[in-house]
Symmetry: C2
Subunit: 166 residues, 2 copies
């Protein structure tokens, strides 16, 4: 019999995945011209985010920002050192289409870990980061500080596709 | 040795959860006055959403809207009939704080399934839903069509807290 903490982890995982699925389904509905159904998917995605956040709080997994950054660094490090390398290797040997995003992710996560480490240094020094512009590559998830690069070092996308998240 | 499809499911789960964590961490950073770090968390959350979407595509889990709605109905039905009831029961017997969101979720998911069923009827009749206003309760994830209720039937929140997702 699982404990309530184990239940919370399972429910958090389920709600997080439902949120992502509904956001992707909303885009598909939009493409097919179902504008209202797309809005329904986005609204329900937000409902699942509320459930996910509630479970995360009940797990006491939202700490202070220094601890949150450390948890984020640990998660990113696990992904780029342990999780993704064997996944990429196998997808390459299968020649599975998964290899593309596995490769982008393994490279992007390493950069995420580095940037979170800079953020943690700032917090340990009692201040916010001094950078306020974060440029995201919408193809691979690479992030650059300050200004967009001429070309994405992970996927090769051009400067003009980079975006900022408000 | 897991298959690439099993790897994709694991990676989709991990990315979906990272997205939710970073969004929650962003709110916490904002509360502590770390405006730039909050923006970094939101930007990285979006990077993880890109990874999650890529994995979902590689899993061929984004179908046409009729099939997506059926998958959504199946997921919601699993949650309110099988997943949440024993979780809620145990959290109640533990008197664990998880009981609050488990109760909200089990009730909200049943409503989500009903609304998705209406959407599927419309799609099967070759049209979009005729409703374009979806009111979300930001406390429990309940959704009402057309206009906000006087009081949320799931959590009791007042009409004025209901919001619409664009
Ligand atoms: Fe949910
Ligand atoms: Fe990452
Ligand atoms: Fe890129
Ligand atoms: Fe990622
Ligand atoms: Fe739901
Ligand atoms: Fe509610």
């Amino acid at each position: 019999m699982p404990t309530t903490n184990e239940h919370l982890k399972e429910a958090f995982s389920g709600e997080s995945q439902a949120n992502q699925k509904y956001r992707a389904f909303a885009k598909q509905a939009e493409k097919e011209g179902f504008t209202n159904i797309a809005k329904l998917f986005r609204t329900t995605a937000e409902a699942e985010r509320i459930h996910a956040e509630g479970h995360l709080k009940a797990l006491d997994m939202i700490a202070n920002t220094a601890d949150n950054l450390q948890a984020a660094i640990d998660g990113e490090t696990y992904e780029f050192t342990e999780m993704y390398p064997p996944m990429l290797e196998q997808a390459l040997s299968d020649d599975h289409k998964a290899k593309r995003m596995f490769k982008f992710a393994v490279d992007a996560e390493e950069v995420h870990a580095q940037i979170y480490s800079k953020a943690l240094e700032a917090v340990k020094a009692g201040k916010d980061m001094d950078v306020s512009d974060f440029y995201l590559c919408p193809i691979c998830g690479y992030i650059e500080l300050g200004s967009a690069p001429d070309e994405c070092p992970v996927c090769g996308a051009k400067s003009k596709v980079f975006c900022q998240i408000g």
